[in-house]
């Protein structure tokens, strides 16, 4: 209590320090005047009295200094002294310091790296001024709005400023002889000015500009070799002038690492854009939604839509901060994943701390004499504990510095990765004040975790007589064993988690997607939209491509599809009615628009009925092929072929075939309903075309030929060809990321635990050298000595395993949601493997100490006496 009051008055004092000095001076002056008055009253002359009073008072500076002293932060100065003493103490014991710092560095390095990842995903803000004011606006359940609607809303002035942003803007970039598809964001011309997006070099896109482009720093460096501003590049057949380069740390409004190569102005009035608005300051997102209601009602009158009203579904979501995640449920999974990672790396840090703690205990045992001397010289126990904690603080701070170096290397490597996603995603992990604050906080926490227990026990010992030290060491050895047991237990938890993720990766890799991966190739072709204004023209090209490809030698079948399973998806949730049943079925159905031969190319079995023919694609009868799951949901066991079904009010489709289920969105899904319809011109125009090609032998030989043929048919298109078995990266990403991260963490945890075990056993053998020597001298067999040493290791491992396994059963329970279906978080095989690994590591850690025990020479050991 009194300490707190003291702290409070010292803090208050800090704020008015300069006035304190003044008042101290004045107080001294008035003291002297009082004395003078008194002397004058006693009959002395005033001048003489003043002189005497001043002399009596003595040195004013010394008194002022000593008064000031009272307000000083003594503990801070003590800390400084403790730290410098600790530096000297540690520099005498370099090997110990090095081992401890490495342990801390690994723990803190991994911890801060995961922290960097999490804070970059969860807390990073888009590169706009005052991101807290910016919201994503969705009206009438639609993500994007037409340009005229955008202008209407802009003119309504509900927002301080409103910009249009189309993140799906792709362009074909012609460079030399090759054409590449680039990911671009199309923005309205007020975007840079109103959002105040910082530019690295050059200038932003300005009002009224059309054929200008702002490029990403990466694109500018790697593709344009840092060329001059104003240079022309050809995008979708038109010439654009590069006016500006974004800074390297640019983050889009979408966040989540989305890293488009270009920003270009919205090209035409037919474009559709997502809306981002800047709210007037002080207004909340929910208030904004209210203000939008009358405007949207007006919008509905001016631009009536048959199927939806804008005023009915108004969503206003913040783009920055944690609110962004709370507003979207799918984002919660991110939070849970990072929470899981943070727990696991927290456990890893705990292992590292226990390692250092047992090192400190061993060191304290060796320093009993030194501590004892300090006690007899008058140091209090609190003083010694502070001293010892200063040592662990010094170690943990050095560890944090080294850990931050590990963090820099790891984040640099992670930043270089291009994640296998359909859109470019780049991690832009950067050290910031949050990282530094976090590193310092966990360094202090680790210092206490690792240092407190050893400091308490070793100073307790010094209170007892110095001569008893031999007997007291036993207690510390027991504590070290306890620590290593805890370490083994925590490692078991980390290992079980890691093993589950690795198993998850293996079973997702082995999981059958339901279609053939080995002989199928995916050819993606992006047409320049201006050259293909109508669907007829586009699909005429599709026909020509199919005809040409099917004629190639080595091609067994080829097909067109609008959606490539496990890479992108399109679905429809709706009431589905059928002629076979009265009540509609509400079901989420994956939808595909395909050409004939799709199932043959993908190796998906046709179970009943027939495949589409070219005639279906010409728009004869309206037909559909459904998968088994949908057939079961709609018709039960009855045959589906020949029945009709319809989505909502759309026209009925005749079911002509039933195909086997396959995987559509994730590898873990089961029995997802899907419907395939022939691609018709009426379905609308598109620039991105996907062709699937089945090779009669290995598909690798086809890659070159396909590229060549497709480019020959349409030289302005951008063509990308990849074998299907390489195209699953996206679907496997969660499993791979989980297995990769947790695998590394698991191995680190295991090695830290092994080091701890090794340390404890070697220490125990060296401490019992005399006992072992004596036993051998008395005729103990090597076998019994071995049993003695290994038994000790086995006890530790056994106890640690038991505790760790039981704890794992609880800890891994929430893991289930990250694992593929059918993988049990309590998988007995995983637990057995972890136990086996732990036992093997335990044996290795025991071998050297055991051999040393066997080699100990009874004569030498006895001479130690």
């Amino acid at each position: 209590m009194s300490l707190l009051a003291e702290l409070r008055s010292k803090l208050a004092h800090l704020l008015k320090r300069s006035s304190f000095d003044d008042s101290l001076d004045q107080e001294i002056r008035s003291h002297i005047e009082f004395r003078t008055d008194e002397l004058v009253a006693g009959g002395m002359g005033r001048l003489e009295a003043a002189r005497v009073a001043r002399r009596e008072f003595g040195s004013t500076t010394r008194i002022a200094e000593e008064s000031r002293e009272a307000w000083r932060w003594n503990w801070m100065e003590d800390l400084g002294r403790d730290l410098s003493y600790a530096t000297r103490a540690l520099s005498r014991d370099r090997r110990f310091a090095f081992t401890a710092i490495i342990s801390f560095a690994l723990g803190i390095g991994v911890n801060t790296t995961i922290f960097s990842l999490a804070s970059s995903f969860l807390l990073s803000e888009p590169s706009v001024a005052n991101p807290g004011e910016v919201v994503h606006v969705q009206l009438g359940g639609r993500g994007q709005m037409a340009m005229q609607e955008f202008r209407f809303l802009q003119d309504s002035r509900v927002f301080t400023s409103l910009v249009g942003f189309d993140e799906n803007g792709e362009v074909n970039w012609r460079s030399g002889d090759s054409t590449r598809r680039l990911f671009a964001v199309r923005v309205t011309d007020n975007f840079f000015a109103d959002m105040r997006v910082p530019i690295g070099t050059g200038r932003p896109i300005q009002k009224g500009e059309r054929n200008v482009v702002v490029v990403s720093d990466r694109f500018w460096r790697n593709q344009l070799s840092t060329g001059p501003m104003g240079q022309a590049i050809v995008l979708d057949g038109a010439s654009y002038s590069v006016v500006g380069v974004l800074p390297p740390n640019h983050r889009t409004l979408i966040g989540l690492g989305f890293a488009p190569e270009l920003y270009i102005p919205v090209s035409s009035d037919s474009a559709r854009v997502s809306l981002y608005g800047r709210m007037p300051s002080g207004v909340k997102a929910s208030q904004m939604a209210q203000r939008l209601v009358p405007v949207c009602a007006q919008l509905d009158r001016v631009f009536p839509h048959p199927d939806a009203k804008y005023a009915q579904m108004i969503k206003v979501d913040p783009v920055a901060g944690v609110e962004r995640f709370l507003s979207k449920r799918s984002m919660l999974l991110f939070i849970q994943f990072f929470a899981l990672l943070m727990i696991v790396v927290g456990l890893l840090l705990a292992i590292a701390c226990t390692n250092v703690a047992s090192l400190l205990l061993a060191r304290a045992a060796a320093r009993t004499r030194e501590l004892g001397v300090r006690v007899s010289l008058g140091a209090t126990r609190g003083r010694l504990i502070r001293q010892l904690l200063a040592e662990s603080l010094l170690l943990s701070l050095a560890g944090a510095a080294a850990g931050l170096a590990i963090n820099m290397m790891a984040t640099h490597a992670l930043n270089g990765l291009l994640l296998p996603m359909p859109v470019p995603i780049r991690l832009a992990l950067q050290p910031d004040w949050r990282l530094l604050a976090y590193a310092i906080a966990i360094a202090i926490a680790s210092a206490v975790m690792a240092g407190l227990l050893p400091a308490l026990t070793s100073t307790r010992r010094t209170n007892a007589s110095l001569k008893q030290e031999e007997h007291q060491v036993g207690g510390s050895a027991r504590m070290r064993k306890g620590l290593v047991t805890a370490q083994v237990a925590v490692s078991v938890i980390v290992l079980v988690t890691a093993a589950l993720f690795v198993k998850n990766l293996m079973s997702s890799t082995a999981m059958n997607p339901g279609f053939d991966l080995q002989r199928t190739t995916w050819a993606h072709m992006r047409l320049v939209p201006d050259r293909y204004p109508t669907a007829q023209q586009t699909f005429a090209t599709v026909d020509r491509v199919l005809e040409r490809v099917r004629a190639l030698p080595g091609v067994e079948a080829a097909a067109y599809t609008n959606v490539v399973p496990l890479n992108d998806s399109s679905n429809n949730t709706g009431p589905i009615t059928s002629d076979a049943r009265k009540e509609p079925v509400v079901l989420r159905v994956q939808t595909f628009l395909i050409s004939e031969d799709f199932f043959k190319t993908m190796g998906i079995a046709l179970l009943a009925g027939r495949d589409f023919t070219e005639n279906d694609r010409r728009g004869g009868a309206e037909t559909a092929i459904i998968n088994q799951a949908l057939a079961k949901a709609m018709y039960g066991a009855a045959p589906a072929v020949g029945r009709t079904l319809r989505f909502g009010d759309s026209s009925p489709l005749l079911v002509v075939g039933v195909v086997a289920d396959s995987k559509y969105v994730t590898l873990g899904e089961e029995e997802v309903a899907a419907i395939y319809e022939p691609q018709l011109d009426q379905h609308g125009n598109r620039a991105n075309l996907s062709f699937l090609v089945r090779a009669s032998a290995s598909p690798s030989a086809l890659t070159q030929t396909l590229n060549h043929e497709l480019l020959a048919l349409e030289p302005t298109s951008a063509v990308e060809i990849k074998p299907m078995n390489q195209a699953l990266g996206f679907a496997l990403l969660p499993s791979r990321a989980g297995a990769g991260l947790l695998g590394v963490i698991g191995v680190l945890g295991l090695s830290l635990a092994a080091i701890g075990l090794f340390g404890v056993l070697s220490y125990s053998v060296s401490r019992r050298a005399r006992e072992i020597g004596l036993r051998m001298a008395l005729g103990a067999s090597p076998k019994s000595i071995l049993r003695l040493v290994l038994g000790e290791g086995a006890t530790i491992i056994g106890a640690g395993l038991a505790v760790g396994m039981i704890a794992s059963l609880f800890v891994t329970r929430p893991l289930a949601m990250f694992l593929v279906a059918g993988l049990n978080p309590f998988d007995p095989l995983t637990y057995m493997i972890v136990a086996l690994v732990m036992i093997i590591v335990g044996c290795f850690a025991s071998i050297k100490p055991a051999i040393r025990a066997l080699r100990s020479d009874p004569a030498v050991a006895l001479r130690l006496e």
Partner: protein, 111 residues
């Protein structure tokens, strides 16, 4: 002049004396020293060199608070006032001192 004792002769007594002399009401530094000297019939002299550092230490501990005011002869002075914590501390220290003194007397008488 009679021989005077420094209060620091017994550790902690300076605090005790200051607290006690403030019990009747706020005083400025000079008045505290004078009060101690007068009441002890000049047997105890508080040196300025120890008075002001001690006052500041007691401010830090929140036993006292200080305010500027005017003295009876119209001079600006810094007055020190006892806080409830200070009063409690006075009680503790006075009891402790009594115990110490009677223990010493016991030894002087009996040993």
């Amino acid at each position: 002049m009679p021989a005077t004792l420094q209060p620091e002769f017994l550790p902690g007594t300076l605090h005790l004396l200051i607290l006690r002399s403030l019990l009747a009401g706020p005083l400025h530094g000079y008045a505290i020293a004078k009060r101690i000297k007068d009441v002890s019939k000049s047997a105890l002299a508080v040196e300025e060199g120890s008075l002001y550092p001690a006052l500041n230490r007691m401010l830090v501990k929140n036993w006292l608070v200080a305010e500027w005011g005017t003295s009876e002869n119209n001079r600006k002075a810094r007055f020190y006032r006892l806080t409830p914590e200070g009063a409690a501390q006075l009680e503790r220290e006075a009891a402790e001192f009594d115990r110490l003194v009677s223990a010493i007397q016991l030894v002087l008488r009996e040993a």
